[in-house]
């Protein structure tokens, strides 16, 4: 150690530290911008969360944060809990877009295949399941295969109308 200081090797490493920090800063910033943009192209899957009290939440897990024990008055041990923010959407029904759920309240998380998210022009995202599709109150598609076959053509038809509107 003494020899390192005497030869100045340690100080050279210190200068290297300065350069390392600035490189990490710039690389980190570019990485951050990159990560946040890929979020848009590859959205996370819709999670169905069963809570301990047998209630359910459906939505995308938006972020997770660690909560130290002090802000949870009912716990005695100094433990850190993780807390999830879920984007549950359906603002027209619930009145809010997000819900918080602690890790310890969660019983199980599944990712149902047939859950859908729809971006709407009003009230933000819709999350839910397609039970059936009715067109003009008559033609009804209620089985999974029928919905699967019709939904994409409906979506493209509707967006075609929207394009014309412009």
């Amino acid at each position: 150690m003494k020899e390192l200081i005497k030869k100045g090797e340690l100080f050279i490493w210190l200068t290297g530290l300065g350069l390392g920090v600035s490189i990490i800063m710039i690389a980190g910033l570019l990485f951050l911008v990159f990560i946040n943009s890929t979020d848009f192209y590859y959205p996370s899957a819709i999670a169905k969360i069963k809570k301990e009290d047998n209630s359910y939440l459906l939505g995308q897990i938006f972020q997770t944060e660690d909560v130290p024990q002090a802000s949870l008055p009912d716990s005695l041990k100094p433990t850190i809990y993780s807390r999830n923010q879920i984007k549950i959407g359906n603002r027209d029904i619930y009145g809010f877009d997000f819900a918080w759920v602690d890790e310890r309240e969660i019983d199980s998380i599944t990712y149902p295949k047939n859950a859908i998210a729809i971006e709407r022009t009003e009230y933000g995202n819709f999350y839910g399941f397609l039970e059936s599709i009715k067109i003009d109150g008559e033609r009804k598609y209620s089985s999974n295969e029928e919905i699967e076959s019709i939904i994409h053509s409906i979506v493209s038809e509707v967006s075609g109308i929207r394009e014309k509107d412009k």
Binding site: L10, I12, L17, V21, S22, L29, L32, P68
Partner: protein
Amino acid sequence: MKRSEYGWQLVIPHTFDKLENEITSVSVSQRGKTFIVGDKEGNIELKHLTSNRTIAKLSGRQKKIIDIIFAPKADGALVLYSDGIIERFTIDPGHPEVTLHTIFGKVWYEGYAKPEFVWQSTGGSDDFEPKLSLIPLIAGTFKGTFYALLFAIPIALLGALYTSVFVHPKIKKVIKPTVEIMAALPSVVIGFLAGLWLAPMLERILPGVILIFVISPFTMLLGVYLWRKIPKLFGVKFKQGYEVLVLVPLLILGGQIALWLGPYFETYVLSGDYRAWLLNYFNESYDQRNAIVVGFAMGFAVIPIIFTICEDALSSVPKHLTSGSLALGANRWQTAVRVVLPTASPGIFSAIMIGFGRAIGETMIVLMATGNTPIMDFSPFNGFRTLSANIAVEIPEAPYHGTLYRVLFLSAALLFILTFIINTIAEIVRQRLRKKYMDI
């Protein structure tokens, strides 16, 4: 009036010059803090409360004044004399609230406990008292600059020294443009990320971030250790000048460990909540938009400038000096500190001054990443408002040619004078340093 422990208490915040005779009438403006007094002999004086000054002396009929009515817009007055005659005056008070004292001195404002430096240009009601002290803004400017440079100068200087003297030429070719990319980032992007992404995140992970500063020197020592051990163990050979390639992954790892340890550090050392801990032991409250965020974000603007100019200065030190020093038996570090650094000192100095100039005038980062609160407090955990950000915030709302509009122009002039003085001093110092090292 001010608030005391017994409720509201009457105080004497302003004392005005006496009139020649007994005052018979006082009339107060409905908008603003101007008022008119008239005396027994017919002397009329227009005074302003905040600035403590007499704006005008009106001479009318020199009779005893019974009553004065001040026009609602403070642009005229009707005076009733004892002989039954009413006289009309037209008044143009100009900008009565601005004096050198209200801008640079402590003023006792309405409802305040003591004279203070306050910037609060507009308020909700008509009888609002504008508080136009530029001192909190100047203090904010220096606070922001201080924290920005505190972070940027060491990193930029050390990085430049390493890049110019120690690093392998192959890496240097890549590293210098990489750091310079930082300068290409628009400051509004940096401000946006700092204000909307970094500030909320820092609030959550501050204990971990503080740990990074403790852990990174140890990761450096670990790097030194690995650097010396790995060649012996695996028979590979490291070339001098590749140290930074070992350091970067280690630093990322150390940062990760620090952030992971952060919550435990908060739980066991900072009694569970660092904000409560700060308030308890240091009586400091933590604001989300604070000087740490700005200091770090301004690093992106300042580091590349200082780094590039510094690096150029260090690299242009004549080769024969360094070779001579090495040949005479000095090691790499001794050569760098005793030969390269002094010779390049004029360039390094001007690099720092240019970085300083950038930091002092930086608007967008400060505007977006601080709360723009014009407070006089040098704690790193709360915000500030700089002269430049203040101009950007208030100019859209300032009435054209109004008092605020003019004060903002004054603050712009002040900012110019500040940088002018600092740059002049810097240039003088630089010239002296150059003369000193010119012969080499």
